[in-house]
Symmetry: C2
Subunit: 187 residues, 2 copies
DNA sequence: TGAAACAAACCGACTGGTTGGTATGTTGTG
DNA sequence: CACAACATACCAACCAGTCGGTTTGTTTCA
């Protein structure tokens, strides 16, 4: 009656709409805003329709998280490609990702809503797997203890921004970023 | 009938029990385990009794968080008292707190459940206020950019442990800790 | 070709369960 | 007695998930 019932069937589009809508809700409204009803509404579909595409709410969220991880992985690769120096190249890409204004980066106005990510078990698991895999993969260039500290500092800066959600928690974010990158410049 | 109704009235004790029980539930079961019913049950009181002490669930949680912050603040002071050197003394105390096996420290078996903290708005606010206050207070000894990076790295290590919840995410936690402390040793 | 037969996409109403919160009664205590 | 400290019984809201049915798309076969 409303829309999707007598419009042309386009399952792939609807699935994409559901994923994007769920991500948008999480980004703009945080963890509690992602209800099955809200996602369905936002995608112009009913709850029944949503459950036709995803067997459970968690399955939907998992798919969203998977999407995000693929993007992150690609951006890391891209950043590393543009890096001339070998030593610490993954760490520098990691810093860039952390401080970006896209996705959930420190520069994004939606960092604060990244709490939704940290709460999700599937994200935790995927992040853990992804990180350990990357660290093993770049062991030759990024295993130095100092580089680990730099990456952890980037994580810490990110978390601080997420928790405090205050632009002025750091006096100078850009200076901090440059300082971290600077610490990756010597073998 | 059960217990509290015909036992001696002791409001302060009950209030304490409610706070401790809420904290215990959060630590052992995470965010979603803290329901009003569960807290009341754990304290041997009914839901009505709980709402006699706290006007809302959030008020209860706020009180728990306040408790935790007071403890943290005290432990920081205590650690700083035992520090002979001026330069970086707050940062070292901060590291010690982060890596402790008490509360939600990295060494605690319940770190993973600290997600409950990061989700709570009141904790975020209090943490933000507390941290900025401390940083201003120890500006003379701990304002160095390198010390900031060290503190952020401690934060990052903590977050990594919370998210990954895997004992072996770091090869050697103690070595990392010593390395961080080492970076606080020069003016 | 065309229509019957089947499958996929989607609707909309409903359910069982849980939650925070309230209204009102009962007991202990100063 | 009066009031604080509880218990009991309830409510309204919300939420994930189900189910029977309807619409659209595709395949089969005469």
């Amino acid at each position: 009656m409303t829309s999707a019932h007598n419009r042309k069937k386009q399952p792939e589009l609807v699935r994409r709409l559901l994923l994007d809508c769920a991500a948008k809700l999480a980004i703009e409204g945080g963890f509690s805003a992602v209800t099955v009803q809200a996602v369905a509404d936002g995608a112009g579909v009913t709850k029944g329709g949503l459950f036709h595409h995803f067997p459970s709410k968690q399955a939907l969220i998992d798919a969203v998280v998977q999407d995000l991880m693929v993007q992150i992985d690609a951006e890391i690769d891209q950043a590393m490609d543009q890096d001339k120096q070998d030593y610490g190249c993954f760490t520098r890409a990691y810093i860039e990702l952390t401080f970006t204004d896209r996705h959930y980066g420190i520069g994004s106005p939606h960092v604060g809503k990244a709490q939704a990510l940290m709460v999700d078990r599937e994200f935790n698991r995927m992040w853990s797997v992804w990180l350990t895999g990357r660290l093993r993969r770049h062991a030759e260039t990024d295993a130095d203890p100092m580089l680990e500290i730099v990456r952890l500092a980037a994580d810490g800066a990110w978390m601080t921004r997420v928790i405090c959600d205050d632009h002025e928690i750091f006096q100078d974010v850009e200076a901090l970023r440059r300082r971290l990158v600077g610490l990756t410049r010597r073998p």
